[in-house]
């Protein structure tokens, strides 16, 4: 019963071949559209961002006297430590932003569009990257103005450190979003993980007063490298900033590559929420 279907052929012509410049313009246009769209979504649900800025501000204020009495450079410790800790919490912002595409089943709709996976990921992650940079910047400025964090001698190092840390966090959050099965699971992993790793890294209690084993174990925590980098950047120490930045960049690249591979292929039917 398989039949031929006689129909008038009506060929819809494809667009003419575009040059490299046209392709780049097209890609930039699509990434811009996606970034605007994702920014809109973030702005309409700002709760997480607000709490991850407001909470460390309050904590810095109430914990400052304790830190100042306990350790030398207490103001730097409380400002950079809590900034690092709450920026790790912000992993869940990245994770949720990607995970909702799965909950809403919209990721496949984007994958079916003309935009290739790299454009989709750029459009998705640029606004989250900006959110993380803004969060860290606000907390550092607050640290300087209110808590007594020394004004950085070389602001460019701080900007560099913030960018590297935001990249690493974004990549880790994206990778997490591709392997968890639900928002609850993401929340547990990011909250418990953030608290554990940033505490272990010396963000909550200075490493110098932590047990010896914890000082050794701290090296496995991205929080340790972030804190070391931030404090060096605030001091204006280029070498001290670059070495941990290299570690964080490597972590970010590994996690980011994993996330890109997973997101490019989609979640498939077996992993729906």
């Amino acid at each position: 019963m398989l039949l031929d279907t006689p129909h008038t052929q009506h060929r819809v012509e494809p667009p003419p071949p575009a040059g490299l410049l046209d392709n780049l313009r097209g890609a930039a246009y699509r990434v811009g559209a996606l970034a605007k769209h994702n920014t809109l979504i973030r702005l309409r649900d700002p709760g997480q961002m607000i709490s991850y800025v407001a909470m460390p501000m309050v904590l810095m204020l109430v914990l400052k006297p304790l830190y100042v009495r306990a350790v030398e450079g207490g103001a730097t410790q409380v400002a950079t430590g809590l900034m690092v800790m709450f920026s790790v919490f912000a992993i869940s912002i990245a994770g949720n932003a990607i995970l909702v595409e799965r909950t809403w089943r919209t990721w496949d709709r984007l994958r079916a569009s003309r935009a290739p996976a790299t454009e989709l990921l750029l459009g998705k992650t640029i606004p989250i990257f900006v959110v993380m940079v803004v969060q860290q910047s606000i907390l550092l400025v607050y640290g300087c103005l209110v808590i007594g964090l020394p004004i950085p001698r070389a602001p460019q190092y701080v900007v560099f450190a913030i960018a590297i840390w935001a990249f690493a966090l974004l990549s880790i959050g994206a990778a997490l979003a591709t392997i968890v099965r639900s928002h609850g699971e993401l929340s547990v992993i990011s909250d418990v993980g953030a608290l554990t790793l940033s505490s272990l890294g010396g963000a909550l209690v200075p490493l110098s007063i932590m047990p010896e084993w914890a000082q050794v174990a701290a090296h496995i925590s991205p929080g340790y490298w972030a804190l070391t980098m931030m404090q060096a950047a605030v001091r204006g120490d280029a070498a001290g900033t670059l070495a941990p930045a290299g570690v964080l960049l490597a972590i970010g690249l590994v996690a980011g590559t994993f996330a890109v591979r997973r997101l490019t292929r989609g979640w498939g039917r077996g992993h729906l929420l």
């Binding site: 398989l2 039949l3 009506h10 819809v12 559209a33 996606l34 809403w104 089943r105 709709r109 039917r269």
Partner: protein, 278 residues
């Protein structure tokens, strides 16, 4: 326009597509019908380059799906919209992703809003739309760039009459303009209205293909007589008119109603399900 040959796709031990072949010409509407799990959605996913086949190949206008992603419009079976984003913002996003900009984008939005009757709720967020409004919005995002190939996976599932009619009108219009349309549905009368050719899918392959008339030709219809005393006679027959005349000539009691039902796609579906049962 669309040529799929011997597609095979397995999900673990499940063979979702098993040498699935289908061709769709430009301007043609093909209704894909089949039970849940027959392989319709897997086929749509492969053509829209969301899933790779394990075997066989598919071309769209002679090119692989990866090369023509922007020229395919896909409306999946499930609602896939951003809850906090308005209808207009959805259309802008998908229009821009398809390469529309400036006045062309504005015109495309105006056209699809009018065609699918979205104007009353265009500035509302998707989360507050009714099911039918969400269906129409989703279809609009697939149709906005006037794709050469349309893949509509149960676009009217759970939809109200207005949504269904708007959808059918637009599909007919787009096919009339030359778009090839693959339309999966469980509502067989829609395919009659669309004047679609029909492909019946079972166990991952197309088991029958043709026009409505060709497919139901030879299938039995029904003649039903109801007598005044409320007794009924129902006869299944391939020649309803002759059978009716015969029954009327032999009736020995007053008849209250006569009902003649020609074979439908439902009958075809049932007969194929029986004749192809494993």
């Amino acid at each position: 326009m669309l040529e799929a040959i011997d597609l095979v796709k397995c999900y673990g031990p499940v063979r979702a597509l098993d040498e699935f072949s289908l061709s769709v010409a430009a301007g043609e509407i093909v209704g894909l019908v089949g039970h849940n799990g027959a392989g319709k959605t897997t086929f749509v996913e492969i053509v829209s380059y969301l899933t790779r086949p394990d075997g066989g190949h598919v071309t769209i206008d002679g090119k692989p799906p990866s090369a023509v992603k922007g020229r395919v419009g896909v409306a999946p079976q499930h609602i896939a919209l951003y809850p906090s984003v308005s209808v207009r913002e959805h259309l802008e996003l998908f229009g821009k992703l398809a390469g529309l900009r400036g006045q062309a984008l504005t015109t495309a939005i105006d056209d699809i809003v009018a065609a699918l009757r979205l104007s009353d709720f265009i500035d509302r967020h998707a989360a507050v739309l009714s099911g039918g409004q969400q269906r129409r919005t989703q279809a609009a995002t697939a149709l906005i760039h006037r794709p050469a190939l349309l893949l509509l996976d149960e676009p009217t599932a759970g939809a109200d009459l207005e949504t269904r009619q708007a959808m059918l009108d637009v599909v007919k219009q787009r096919a009339g303009e030359g778009a090839a349309v693959v339309y999966t549905t469980h509502y067989l009368p829609e395919l009659t209205e669309l004047q679609a050719t029909i492909a019946v899918v079972r166990d991952g392959r197309v088991i029958a293909r043709g026009t409505h008339e060709e497919l139901v030709d030879g299938l039995p219809g029904e003649v039903q007589l109801t007598f005044d005393n409320e007794e009924e006679i129902t006869v299944s027959t391939t020649h309803p008119a002759n059978t009716l005349i015969d029954l009327l000539s032999r009736a020995d009691r007053p008849i209250s109603t006569v009902d003649v039902r020609n074979p439908s796609l439902d009958d075809l579906y049932r007969s194929l399900a029986v004749s192809n049962a494993p």
